[in-house]
Protein backbone atom coordinates (compact mmCIF):
# COMPACT_ATOMS: atom_id res chain seq x y z
CA UNK A 1 0.00 0.00 0.00
CA UNK A 2 1.22 3.50 -0.87
CA UNK A 3 0.38 6.22 1.60
CA UNK A 4 1.12 9.88 0.89
CA UNK A 5 0.41 12.26 3.74
CA UNK A 6 0.46 16.05 3.37
CA UNK A 7 3.32 15.82 0.92
CA UNK A 8 4.71 19.25 0.00
CA UNK A 9 7.65 20.33 -2.13
CA UNK A 10 8.69 23.95 -2.29
CA UNK A 11 11.44 25.33 -4.55
CA UNK A 12 12.32 28.78 -3.26
CA UNK A 13 8.96 30.55 -3.59
CA UNK A 14 7.41 28.11 -6.03
CA UNK A 15 5.25 25.35 -4.56
CA UNK A 16 5.54 22.36 -6.90
CA UNK A 17 3.51 19.97 -4.75
CA UNK A 18 1.11 21.34 -2.21
CA UNK A 19 -0.19 19.22 0.65
CA UNK A 20 -0.86 16.08 -1.36
CA UNK A 21 -2.59 13.25 0.48
CA UNK A 22 -3.88 10.01 -1.02
CA UNK A 23 -3.59 6.25 -0.70
CA UNK A 24 -3.24 3.39 -3.13
CA UNK A 25 -4.66 0.12 -1.84
CA UNK A 26 -3.61 -3.40 -2.83
CA UNK A 27 -5.72 -4.75 -5.68
CA UNK A 28 -6.25 -1.35 -7.28
CA UNK A 29 -4.82 0.62 -10.18
CA UNK A 30 -4.66 4.31 -9.44
CA UNK A 31 -4.30 6.77 -12.29
CA UNK A 32 -2.41 9.93 -11.44
CA UNK A 33 -3.53 12.67 -13.79
CA UNK A 34 -2.66 16.26 -14.34
CA UNK A 35 -1.40 18.72 -16.95
CA UNK A 36 2.33 19.08 -17.57
CA UNK A 37 4.02 20.85 -14.69
CA UNK A 38 1.19 20.06 -12.26
CA UNK A 39 3.50 18.17 -9.91
CA UNK A 40 3.02 14.54 -11.00
CA UNK A 41 6.67 13.73 -11.57
CA UNK A 42 7.82 15.63 -8.49
CA UNK A 43 5.33 13.63 -6.41
CA UNK A 44 6.57 10.34 -7.91
CA UNK A 45 10.21 11.36 -7.29
CA UNK A 46 9.41 12.09 -3.64
CA UNK A 47 7.63 8.75 -3.43
CA UNK A 48 10.77 6.95 -4.65
CA UNK A 49 13.26 8.82 -2.47
CA UNK A 50 14.86 10.78 -5.32
CA UNK A 51 13.69 14.17 -4.06
CA UNK A 52 13.36 14.97 -0.37
CA UNK A 53 9.94 16.46 0.47
CA UNK A 54 9.82 19.88 2.12
CA UNK A 55 7.23 18.47 4.51
CA UNK A 56 4.89 15.55 4.82
CA UNK A 57 5.71 11.89 4.39
CA UNK A 58 5.16 9.00 2.07
CA UNK A 59 5.37 5.34 3.02
CA UNK A 60 5.13 2.07 1.15
CA UNK A 61 3.80 -0.77 3.25
CA UNK A 62 4.59 1.43 6.26
CA UNK A 63 8.21 2.31 5.42
CA UNK A 64 9.71 5.34 3.70
CA UNK A 65 11.11 4.21 0.35
CA UNK A 66 14.75 4.88 1.21
CA UNK A 67 14.45 2.74 4.37
CA UNK A 68 13.42 -0.39 2.46
CA UNK A 69 16.18 -3.02 2.66
CA UNK A 70 16.25 -3.45 -1.13
CA UNK A 71 13.53 -1.19 -2.54
CA UNK A 72 13.24 -2.92 -5.92
CA UNK A 73 12.11 -6.11 -4.16
CA UNK A 74 8.94 -4.42 -2.97
CA UNK A 75 8.38 -1.55 -5.40
CA UNK A 76 8.90 -1.77 -9.15
CA UNK A 77 9.61 1.70 -10.47
CA UNK A 78 9.80 3.12 -13.97
CA UNK A 79 10.02 6.89 -14.02
CA UNK A 80 11.44 7.42 -17.51
CA UNK A 81 11.89 4.72 -20.12
CA UNK A 82 14.34 6.92 -22.01
CA UNK A 83 16.72 6.99 -19.05
CA UNK A 84 18.60 3.83 -20.01
CA UNK A 85 22.20 3.60 -21.15
CA UNK A 86 22.13 3.34 -24.96
CA UNK A 87 25.45 1.48 -25.02
CA UNK A 88 24.23 -1.62 -23.17
CA UNK A 89 22.05 -4.37 -24.56
CA UNK A 90 18.59 -4.95 -23.16
CA UNK A 91 19.74 -8.17 -21.54
CA UNK A 92 22.81 -6.51 -19.94
CA UNK A 93 20.57 -3.76 -18.57
CA UNK A 94 18.25 -6.29 -16.95
CA UNK A 95 21.10 -8.43 -15.63
CA UNK A 96 22.54 -5.42 -13.80
CA UNK A 97 19.15 -4.85 -12.19
CA UNK A 98 18.83 -8.55 -11.31
CA UNK A 99 22.25 -8.53 -9.62
CA UNK A 100 21.43 -5.44 -7.59
CA UNK A 101 18.11 -6.95 -6.50
CA UNK A 102 19.74 -10.25 -5.59
CA UNK A 103 17.65 -12.13 -8.14
CA UNK A 104 19.08 -14.98 -10.23
CA UNK A 105 20.51 -13.89 -13.63
CA UNK A 106 18.05 -16.22 -15.38
CA UNK A 107 15.29 -13.92 -14.18
CA UNK A 108 16.60 -11.27 -16.62
CA UNK A 109 16.04 -13.58 -19.59
CA UNK A 110 12.65 -14.59 -18.21
CA UNK A 111 11.53 -10.96 -17.86
CA UNK A 112 12.71 -10.14 -21.40
CA UNK A 113 10.37 -12.89 -22.57
CA UNK A 114 7.55 -11.60 -20.44
CA UNK A 115 7.64 -8.22 -22.15
CA UNK A 116 8.10 -9.66 -25.64
CA UNK A 117 11.69 -8.54 -26.17
CA UNK A 118 13.53 -11.88 -26.22
CA UNK A 119 14.56 -11.42 -29.85
CA UNK A 120 15.93 -7.93 -29.10
CA UNK A 121 17.84 -8.93 -25.95
CA UNK A 122 21.26 -8.69 -27.54
CA UNK A 123 20.62 -5.42 -29.33
CA UNK A 124 21.84 -2.16 -27.88
CA UNK A 125 19.19 -0.12 -26.11
CA UNK A 126 20.23 2.82 -28.28
CA UNK A 127 18.66 0.97 -31.22
CA UNK A 128 15.34 0.39 -29.41
CA UNK A 129 12.20 2.33 -30.23
CA UNK A 130 10.54 4.23 -27.39
CA UNK A 131 7.90 1.51 -27.16
CA UNK A 132 10.62 -1.13 -26.76
CA UNK A 133 12.30 0.95 -24.05
CA UNK A 134 8.97 1.14 -22.25
CA UNK A 135 8.78 -2.66 -22.36
CA UNK A 136 12.37 -2.91 -21.12
CA UNK A 137 11.59 -0.45 -18.33
CA UNK A 138 8.56 -2.50 -17.31
CA UNK A 139 10.68 -5.68 -17.32
CA UNK A 140 13.12 -3.88 -15.00
CA UNK A 141 10.30 -2.75 -12.73
CA UNK A 142 8.99 -6.34 -12.50
CA UNK A 143 12.47 -7.80 -11.93
CA UNK A 144 12.37 -7.92 -8.14
CA UNK A 145 8.93 -9.60 -7.92
CA UNK A 146 7.40 -6.41 -6.50
CA UNK A 147 4.04 -6.01 -4.76
CA UNK A 148 3.78 -2.38 -5.83
CA UNK A 149 4.33 -0.77 -9.24
CA UNK A 150 4.98 2.93 -9.77
CA UNK A 151 5.04 3.88 -13.46
CA UNK A 152 5.39 7.35 -14.96
CA UNK A 153 3.77 7.57 -18.42
CA UNK A 154 4.19 3.85 -19.19
CA UNK A 155 2.06 3.96 -22.35
CA UNK A 156 4.06 6.80 -23.88
CA UNK A 157 5.40 5.80 -27.30
CA UNK A 158 3.68 2.41 -27.34
CA UNK A 159 1.66 1.27 -30.29
CA UNK A 160 -2.01 0.30 -29.74
CA UNK A 161 -1.09 -3.37 -29.38
CA UNK A 162 1.55 -2.53 -26.78
CA UNK A 163 -0.92 -0.38 -24.88
CA UNK A 164 -3.45 -3.19 -24.80
CA UNK A 165 -0.80 -5.65 -23.68
CA UNK A 166 0.26 -3.37 -20.85
CA UNK A 167 -3.31 -2.77 -19.75
CA UNK A 168 -3.80 -6.52 -19.45
CA UNK A 169 -0.56 -6.93 -17.53
CA UNK A 170 -1.43 -4.20 -15.03
CA UNK A 171 -4.99 -5.42 -14.54
CA UNK A 172 -3.72 -8.96 -13.92
CA UNK A 173 -1.12 -7.66 -11.51
CA UNK A 174 -3.69 -5.67 -9.53
CA UNK A 175 -6.23 -8.49 -9.77
CA UNK A 176 -3.79 -10.70 -7.91
CA UNK A 177 -3.29 -8.29 -5.05
CA UNK A 178 -0.71 -5.91 -6.47
CA UNK A 179 -0.85 -2.14 -6.04
CA UNK A 180 -0.37 0.03 -9.12
CA UNK A 181 0.15 3.78 -9.36
CA UNK A 182 0.58 5.14 -12.86
CA UNK A 183 0.66 8.60 -14.28
CA UNK A 184 -0.46 9.31 -17.79
CA UNK A 185 -1.74 12.03 -20.02
CA UNK A 186 -3.41 9.54 -22.39
CA UNK A 187 -6.89 10.02 -20.95
CA UNK A 188 -8.62 7.33 -22.96
CA UNK A 189 -5.98 4.86 -21.89
CA UNK A 190 -6.32 5.86 -18.25
CA UNK A 191 -10.08 5.52 -18.39
CA UNK A 192 -9.74 2.01 -19.81
CA UNK A 193 -7.08 0.87 -17.34
CA UNK A 194 -7.49 2.38 -13.89
CA UNK A 195 -10.14 1.92 -11.24
CA UNK A 196 -9.12 4.85 -9.06
CA UNK A 197 -8.17 8.34 -10.01
CA UNK A 198 -6.20 11.16 -8.43
CA UNK A 199 -6.22 14.44 -10.33
CA UNK A 200 -3.60 17.06 -9.60
CA UNK A 201 -3.53 20.65 -10.83
CA UNK A 202 -0.98 23.28 -9.84
CA UNK A 203 0.46 20.98 -7.20
CA UNK A 204 -2.85 20.39 -5.44
CA UNK A 205 -5.15 17.40 -5.49
CA UNK A 206 -8.35 18.58 -7.16
CA UNK A 207 -10.22 15.28 -7.18
CA UNK A 208 -9.72 11.71 -6.07
CA UNK A 209 -11.73 8.54 -5.73
CA UNK A 210 -13.15 5.62 -7.64
CA UNK A 211 -13.25 6.24 -11.39
CA UNK A 212 -16.96 5.38 -11.69
CA UNK A 213 -18.01 7.78 -8.94
CA UNK A 214 -15.94 10.60 -10.40
CA UNK A 215 -17.34 10.04 -13.88
CA UNK A 216 -20.88 9.80 -12.51
CA UNK A 217 -20.47 13.37 -11.33
CA UNK A 218 -19.80 14.61 -14.83
CA UNK A 219 -23.51 14.72 -15.69
CA UNK A 220 -25.39 13.89 -18.87
CA UNK A 221 -24.90 15.04 -22.44
CA UNK A 222 -28.06 15.53 -24.45
CA UNK A 223 -28.90 16.70 -27.96
CA UNK A 224 -32.35 17.72 -29.08
CA UNK A 225 -34.08 19.07 -32.16
CA UNK A 226 -34.71 22.31 -30.26
CA UNK A 227 -31.81 22.63 -27.87
CA UNK A 228 -32.80 26.11 -26.65
CA UNK A 229 -36.29 25.02 -25.59
CA UNK A 230 -34.95 21.97 -23.83
CA UNK A 231 -32.33 24.06 -22.00
CA UNK A 232 -35.04 26.43 -20.73
CA UNK A 233 -37.24 23.53 -19.65
CA UNK A 234 -34.35 21.91 -17.79
CA UNK A 235 -33.43 25.16 -16.05
CA UNK A 236 -37.07 25.68 -15.03
CA UNK A 237 -36.91 22.25 -13.43
CA UNK A 238 -33.90 23.39 -11.42
CA UNK A 239 -31.07 21.67 -13.35
CA UNK A 240 -27.89 23.33 -14.53
CA UNK A 241 -27.68 23.04 -18.31
CA UNK A 242 -24.80 24.38 -20.28
CA UNK A 243 -24.54 24.60 -24.05
CA UNK A 244 -21.33 23.12 -25.38
CA UNK A 245 -19.59 24.52 -28.47
CA UNK A 246 -20.56 21.36 -30.42
CA UNK A 247 -24.25 22.13 -29.92
CA UNK A 248 -24.93 19.54 -27.22
CA UNK A 249 -26.20 20.35 -23.73
CA UNK A 250 -24.38 19.21 -20.66
CA UNK A 251 -26.77 18.80 -17.74
CA UNK A 252 -25.98 18.18 -14.10
CA UNK A 253 -28.61 15.47 -13.84
CA UNK A 254 -29.04 11.79 -14.55
CA UNK A 255 -30.24 10.53 -17.94
CA UNK A 256 -33.55 9.59 -16.33
CA UNK A 257 -34.10 13.09 -14.95
CA UNK A 258 -33.33 14.66 -18.33
CA UNK A 259 -35.63 12.17 -20.06
CA UNK A 260 -38.47 12.99 -17.67
CA UNK A 261 -38.20 16.71 -18.38
CA UNK A 262 -38.01 16.03 -22.12
CA UNK A 263 -41.15 13.84 -22.02
CA UNK A 264 -43.08 16.44 -20.03
CA UNK A 265 -42.25 19.19 -22.54
CA UNK A 266 -42.56 16.92 -25.61
CA UNK A 267 -39.00 17.70 -26.65
CA UNK A 268 -37.53 15.49 -29.36
CA UNK A 269 -34.19 14.11 -28.17
CA UNK A 270 -31.62 13.08 -30.76
CA UNK A 271 -29.01 11.82 -28.31
CA UNK A 272 -28.82 11.14 -24.59
CA UNK A 273 -25.78 9.76 -22.84
CA UNK A 274 -23.32 9.93 -20.03
CA UNK A 275 -21.21 13.00 -19.48
CA UNK A 276 -18.15 13.81 -21.49
CA UNK A 277 -16.11 11.14 -19.73
CA UNK A 278 -12.65 11.60 -18.41
CA UNK A 279 -11.61 14.27 -20.85
CA UNK A 280 -14.34 16.70 -19.82
CA UNK A 281 -13.78 15.87 -16.17
CA UNK A 282 -10.06 16.44 -16.57
CA UNK A 283 -10.40 19.87 -18.14
CA UNK A 284 -13.12 20.87 -15.74
CA UNK A 285 -10.99 19.94 -12.73
CA UNK A 286 -7.56 21.09 -13.83
CA UNK A 287 -8.89 24.10 -15.75
CA UNK A 288 -10.60 25.46 -12.67
CA UNK A 289 -7.50 24.80 -10.61
CA UNK A 290 -5.46 26.86 -13.05
CA UNK A 291 -7.92 29.76 -13.11
CA UNK A 292 -8.17 29.72 -9.29
CA UNK A 293 -4.47 30.33 -9.27
CA UNK A 294 -4.63 33.06 -11.86
CA UNK A 295 -7.34 34.76 -9.84
CA UNK A 296 -5.27 34.50 -6.68
CA UNK A 297 -2.23 35.89 -8.44
CA UNK A 298 -4.12 38.84 -9.94
Amino acid sequence: MINLQNLTKRYHHHVAVDDVTFRCEPGTITGFLGPNGAGKSTTLRMLTGLTPPTSGRVTIDGSPYADLPNPGRLVGVMLDAAAQHPGRTGLQTLKLTAQLLNMPPARATEMLGRVGLEAAGNRRVGDYSLGMRQRLGIAGALMGDPAVLVLDEPANGMDPEGIRWMRGLLQDFAGRGGTVLLSSHLLGEVQATVDHLVVIGRGRIVAGGALEELLAGSGTVVRARDVGALASALRRSGYTAELRPDGALRVQASAEQVGTVAAATAAVLTELGEGGGLEDLFFELTGSAQSDHTAAAA
Binding site: T51, P69, R73, G87
Partner: protein, 269 residues
Protein backbone atom coordinates in the same frame (compact mmCIF):
# COMPACT_ATOMS: atom_id res chain seq x y z
CA UNK B 1 -3.50 -1.36 -49.31
CA UNK B 2 -2.32 -1.95 -45.83
CA UNK B 3 0.65 -4.20 -45.51
CA UNK B 4 0.94 -6.39 -42.49
CA UNK B 5 4.07 -5.20 -40.73
CA UNK B 6 5.15 -6.11 -37.24
CA UNK B 7 4.30 -3.41 -34.70
CA UNK B 8 6.95 -0.77 -34.10
CA UNK B 9 7.71 -1.95 -30.59
CA UNK B 10 8.27 -5.49 -31.76
CA UNK B 11 5.87 -7.40 -29.62
CA UNK B 12 6.51 -11.00 -30.31
CA UNK B 13 3.83 -13.26 -29.01
CA UNK B 14 4.72 -12.23 -25.50
CA UNK B 15 4.41 -14.65 -22.66
CA UNK B 16 0.83 -14.19 -21.60
CA UNK B 17 1.04 -15.79 -18.20
CA UNK B 18 -0.14 -13.19 -15.68
CA UNK B 19 2.47 -11.48 -13.56
CA UNK B 20 1.43 -11.59 -9.95
CA UNK B 21 3.18 -10.52 -6.79
CA UNK B 22 4.19 -13.70 -4.96
CA UNK B 23 2.60 -14.65 -1.67
CA UNK B 24 3.80 -14.86 1.01
CA UNK B 25 6.45 -12.18 0.58
CA UNK B 26 9.98 -13.44 1.09
CA UNK B 27 12.19 -11.74 3.64
CA UNK B 28 14.45 -9.38 1.70
CA UNK B 29 18.11 -9.06 2.63
CA UNK B 30 19.53 -5.52 2.62
CA UNK B 31 21.50 -4.56 -0.47
CA UNK B 32 25.17 -5.29 0.21
CA UNK B 33 27.98 -2.85 -0.55
CA UNK B 34 29.85 -5.70 -2.23
CA UNK B 35 26.96 -6.17 -4.67
CA UNK B 36 26.72 -2.45 -5.41
CA UNK B 37 30.47 -2.36 -6.15
CA UNK B 38 30.31 -5.45 -8.36
CA UNK B 39 27.44 -3.87 -10.30
CA UNK B 40 29.45 -0.66 -10.75
CA UNK B 41 32.38 -2.66 -12.14
CA UNK B 42 30.03 -4.33 -14.62
CA UNK B 43 28.52 -0.98 -15.57
CA UNK B 44 31.98 0.48 -16.26
CA UNK B 45 33.02 -2.44 -18.45
CA UNK B 46 29.73 -3.10 -20.27
CA UNK B 47 29.59 0.18 -22.22
CA UNK B 48 31.54 0.88 -25.38
CA UNK B 49 33.32 3.89 -23.86
CA UNK B 50 34.49 1.83 -20.88
CA UNK B 51 35.70 -1.00 -23.10
CA UNK B 52 37.37 1.51 -25.43
CA UNK B 53 39.39 3.08 -22.60
CA UNK B 54 40.59 -0.32 -21.36
CA UNK B 55 41.42 -1.54 -24.86
CA UNK B 56 43.18 1.72 -25.74
CA UNK B 57 45.36 1.54 -22.63
CA UNK B 58 46.48 -2.00 -23.36
CA UNK B 59 46.98 -1.22 -27.05
CA UNK B 60 49.10 1.84 -26.27
CA UNK B 61 51.24 -0.13 -23.81
CA UNK B 62 51.72 -2.96 -26.30
CA UNK B 63 52.51 -0.56 -29.16
CA UNK B 64 55.10 1.38 -27.14
CA UNK B 65 56.78 -1.81 -25.94
CA UNK B 66 56.86 -3.26 -29.47
CA UNK B 67 58.37 0.00 -30.77
CA UNK B 68 61.00 -0.18 -28.02
CA UNK B 69 61.76 -3.80 -28.95
CA UNK B 70 62.52 -2.72 -32.52
CA UNK B 71 65.03 -0.29 -31.03
CA UNK B 72 66.34 -2.70 -28.42
CA UNK B 73 69.96 -2.16 -29.57
CA UNK B 74 69.86 1.61 -29.08
CA UNK B 75 67.43 1.73 -26.16
CA UNK B 76 68.69 -0.75 -23.59
CA UNK B 77 65.84 -2.86 -22.18
CA UNK B 78 65.44 -1.59 -18.64
CA UNK B 79 62.61 -0.67 -16.27
CA UNK B 80 63.94 2.87 -16.45
CA UNK B 81 63.44 3.05 -20.24
CA UNK B 82 60.29 0.96 -20.54
CA UNK B 83 58.26 2.46 -17.69
CA UNK B 84 58.19 5.86 -19.38
CA UNK B 85 54.72 5.08 -20.77
CA UNK B 86 53.15 4.71 -17.33
CA UNK B 87 52.13 8.38 -16.78
CA UNK B 88 50.13 8.28 -20.04
CA UNK B 89 48.56 4.98 -18.99
CA UNK B 90 47.59 6.45 -15.60
CA UNK B 91 45.95 9.50 -17.18
CA UNK B 92 43.99 7.33 -19.62
CA UNK B 93 42.88 4.81 -17.00
CA UNK B 94 41.55 7.63 -14.88
CA UNK B 95 38.90 8.16 -17.58
CA UNK B 96 37.17 5.01 -16.35
CA UNK B 97 36.40 6.75 -13.07
CA UNK B 98 35.40 9.97 -14.75
CA UNK B 99 33.04 8.26 -17.22
CA UNK B 100 31.56 6.14 -14.44
CA UNK B 101 30.51 9.33 -12.66
CA UNK B 102 29.31 11.41 -15.61
CA UNK B 103 27.49 8.64 -17.51
CA UNK B 104 24.81 8.47 -14.82
CA UNK B 105 23.87 12.07 -15.48
CA UNK B 106 24.50 12.44 -19.21
CA UNK B 107 22.65 9.17 -19.97
CA UNK B 108 20.15 9.92 -17.19
CA UNK B 109 20.64 6.46 -15.72
CA UNK B 110 20.96 8.16 -12.32
CA UNK B 111 17.18 7.93 -12.25
CA UNK B 112 17.34 4.13 -12.23
CA UNK B 113 20.55 3.83 -10.22
CA UNK B 114 19.39 5.98 -7.32
CA UNK B 115 15.90 4.49 -7.39
CA UNK B 116 17.33 0.98 -6.99
CA UNK B 117 19.92 2.21 -4.45
CA UNK B 118 18.51 5.26 -2.66
CA UNK B 119 21.57 5.61 -0.43
CA UNK B 120 23.63 7.62 -2.88
CA UNK B 121 26.73 7.84 -0.70
CA UNK B 122 27.15 4.09 -0.94
CA UNK B 123 26.79 4.17 -4.71
CA UNK B 124 29.40 6.93 -5.03
CA UNK B 125 31.81 5.08 -2.73
CA UNK B 126 31.26 1.94 -4.80
CA UNK B 127 32.06 3.92 -7.95
CA UNK B 128 35.38 5.17 -6.54
CA UNK B 129 36.25 1.66 -5.43
CA UNK B 130 35.19 0.04 -8.70
CA UNK B 131 37.12 2.57 -10.81
CA UNK B 132 40.25 2.16 -8.66
CA UNK B 133 40.01 -1.62 -8.80
CA UNK B 134 39.59 -1.63 -12.58
CA UNK B 135 42.47 0.80 -13.03
CA UNK B 136 44.71 -1.34 -10.83
CA UNK B 137 43.78 -4.49 -12.74
CA UNK B 138 44.53 -2.76 -16.06
CA UNK B 139 47.77 -1.41 -14.63
CA UNK B 140 48.77 -4.94 -13.60
CA UNK B 141 48.27 -6.02 -17.22
CA UNK B 142 50.40 -3.09 -18.39
CA UNK B 143 53.11 -4.08 -15.89
CA UNK B 144 53.04 -7.58 -17.34
CA UNK B 145 53.46 -6.16 -20.85
CA UNK B 146 56.38 -3.99 -19.73
CA UNK B 147 58.13 -6.76 -17.82
CA UNK B 148 57.62 -9.17 -20.71
CA UNK B 149 58.99 -6.49 -23.02
CA UNK B 150 62.10 -5.94 -20.92
CA UNK B 151 62.77 -9.69 -20.83
CA UNK B 152 62.22 -10.02 -24.59
CA UNK B 153 64.39 -6.95 -25.21
CA UNK B 154 67.16 -8.52 -23.21
CA UNK B 155 67.04 -11.59 -25.43
CA UNK B 156 66.91 -9.55 -28.64
CA UNK B 157 69.64 -7.08 -27.72
CA UNK B 158 71.81 -9.75 -26.22
CA UNK B 159 72.59 -7.80 -23.09
CA UNK B 160 71.08 -8.43 -19.67
CA UNK B 161 67.66 -6.95 -18.93
CA UNK B 162 67.91 -4.26 -16.28
CA UNK B 163 65.14 -4.35 -13.68
CA UNK B 164 66.67 -1.75 -11.36
CA UNK B 165 64.03 0.40 -9.66
CA UNK B 166 61.20 -1.88 -10.71
CA UNK B 167 59.86 -2.82 -7.29
CA UNK B 168 59.60 0.76 -6.11
CA UNK B 169 58.34 1.92 -9.51
CA UNK B 170 55.52 -0.60 -9.52
CA UNK B 171 54.45 0.46 -6.06
CA UNK B 172 54.57 4.20 -6.64
CA UNK B 173 52.62 3.99 -9.89
CA UNK B 174 49.93 1.97 -8.15
CA UNK B 175 49.55 4.83 -5.69
CA UNK B 176 49.55 7.43 -8.44
CA UNK B 177 47.01 5.49 -10.49
CA UNK B 178 44.62 5.47 -7.54
CA UNK B 179 45.22 9.20 -7.01
CA UNK B 180 44.58 9.93 -10.69
CA UNK B 181 41.43 7.80 -10.80
CA UNK B 182 40.15 9.56 -7.69
CA UNK B 183 40.97 12.94 -9.19
CA UNK B 184 39.21 12.17 -12.47
CA UNK B 185 36.19 10.66 -10.71
CA UNK B 186 36.11 13.74 -8.49
CA UNK B 187 36.02 16.01 -11.54
CA UNK B 188 33.32 13.77 -13.00
CA UNK B 189 31.22 14.03 -9.86
CA UNK B 190 31.80 17.79 -9.83
CA UNK B 191 30.54 18.70 -13.28
CA UNK B 192 28.48 15.66 -14.39
CA UNK B 193 29.08 16.71 -18.00
CA UNK B 194 31.59 14.37 -19.64
CA UNK B 195 33.13 16.98 -21.94
CA UNK B 196 33.46 19.60 -19.21
CA UNK B 197 34.87 17.09 -16.74
CA UNK B 198 37.41 15.69 -19.22
CA UNK B 199 38.53 19.17 -20.21
CA UNK B 200 38.80 20.28 -16.60
CA UNK B 201 40.68 17.13 -15.58
CA UNK B 202 43.17 17.22 -18.47
CA UNK B 203 43.57 20.92 -19.12
CA UNK B 204 43.16 22.80 -15.86
CA UNK B 205 46.22 21.41 -14.02
CA UNK B 206 48.34 21.73 -17.19
CA UNK B 207 47.30 25.32 -17.73
CA UNK B 208 47.94 25.96 -14.08
CA UNK B 209 51.42 24.47 -14.36
CA UNK B 210 52.23 26.93 -17.15
CA UNK B 211 50.44 30.02 -15.84
CA UNK B 212 51.34 29.35 -12.22
CA UNK B 213 55.03 29.15 -13.02
CA UNK B 214 54.90 32.52 -14.72
CA UNK B 215 52.92 34.15 -11.94
CA UNK B 216 54.19 32.57 -8.78
CA UNK B 217 57.65 31.41 -9.83
CA UNK B 218 58.87 28.60 -7.58
CA UNK B 219 55.80 28.94 -5.30
CA UNK B 220 53.70 27.50 -8.13
CA UNK B 221 54.88 24.00 -7.30
CA UNK B 222 52.62 24.11 -4.23
CA UNK B 223 49.70 23.70 -6.62
CA UNK B 224 51.33 21.69 -9.43
CA UNK B 225 49.74 18.27 -9.14
CA UNK B 226 51.64 16.67 -12.03
CA UNK B 227 54.99 17.64 -10.52
CA UNK B 228 53.69 16.18 -7.27
CA UNK B 229 52.95 12.88 -9.08
CA UNK B 230 56.44 13.07 -10.59
CA UNK B 231 58.10 13.55 -7.21
CA UNK B 232 56.03 10.82 -5.58
CA UNK B 233 57.04 8.34 -8.26
CA UNK B 234 60.69 9.42 -8.25
CA UNK B 235 63.49 7.75 -6.36
CA UNK B 236 62.91 10.25 -3.54
CA UNK B 237 59.14 10.27 -3.01
CA UNK B 238 59.36 12.37 0.15
CA UNK B 239 61.04 15.36 -1.54
CA UNK B 240 58.99 18.51 -1.00
CA UNK B 241 56.28 16.47 0.67
CA UNK B 242 54.33 19.52 1.99
CA UNK B 243 54.13 20.90 -1.56
CA UNK B 244 53.01 17.51 -2.91
CA UNK B 245 50.33 17.17 -0.27
CA UNK B 246 49.08 20.71 -0.85
CA UNK B 247 48.80 20.11 -4.59
CA UNK B 248 46.97 16.83 -3.99
CA UNK B 249 44.66 18.52 -1.53
CA UNK B 250 43.82 21.26 -4.02
CA UNK B 251 43.43 19.14 -7.17
CA UNK B 252 42.15 15.85 -5.72
CA UNK B 253 40.68 16.15 -2.23
CA UNK B 254 38.91 19.46 -2.83
CA UNK B 255 37.18 18.67 -6.17
CA UNK B 256 36.31 15.17 -4.99
CA UNK B 257 34.74 16.45 -1.79
CA UNK B 258 32.72 19.16 -3.54
CA UNK B 259 31.82 16.70 -6.32
CA UNK B 260 30.53 14.09 -3.88
CA UNK B 261 28.49 16.66 -1.98
CA UNK B 262 27.00 17.96 -5.24
CA UNK B 263 26.20 14.44 -6.45
CA UNK B 264 24.50 13.61 -3.16
CA UNK B 265 22.26 16.66 -3.50
CA UNK B 266 21.84 16.94 -7.24
CA UNK B 267 18.23 16.68 -8.31
CA UNK B 268 17.65 13.58 -10.43
CA UNK B 269 15.55 14.43 -13.47
Amino acid sequence: MLTARPPADAAQTADTRPIAPSHPRTVVQPQRFRTVTAVEVRKMTSTRSGKAVLAAVLAIAAAVVIWLLFHARTVPPSWQNYSGLLPVVGTALAMIGLLGMTAEWTQRTALTTFTLSPRRGRVLAAKFLAASGLALAALAAVYAIIIGGIAAGGLIAGHPADYAGMGRGILSFLVIAVLQVTMAAGFGALSAQTAVAVAAYLVAPTVWAAVGNALLKSNAQWLDVFSAFGRLSSTHPLTDLPQSLTAIGFWIVLPTTIGVVRSLKREVK
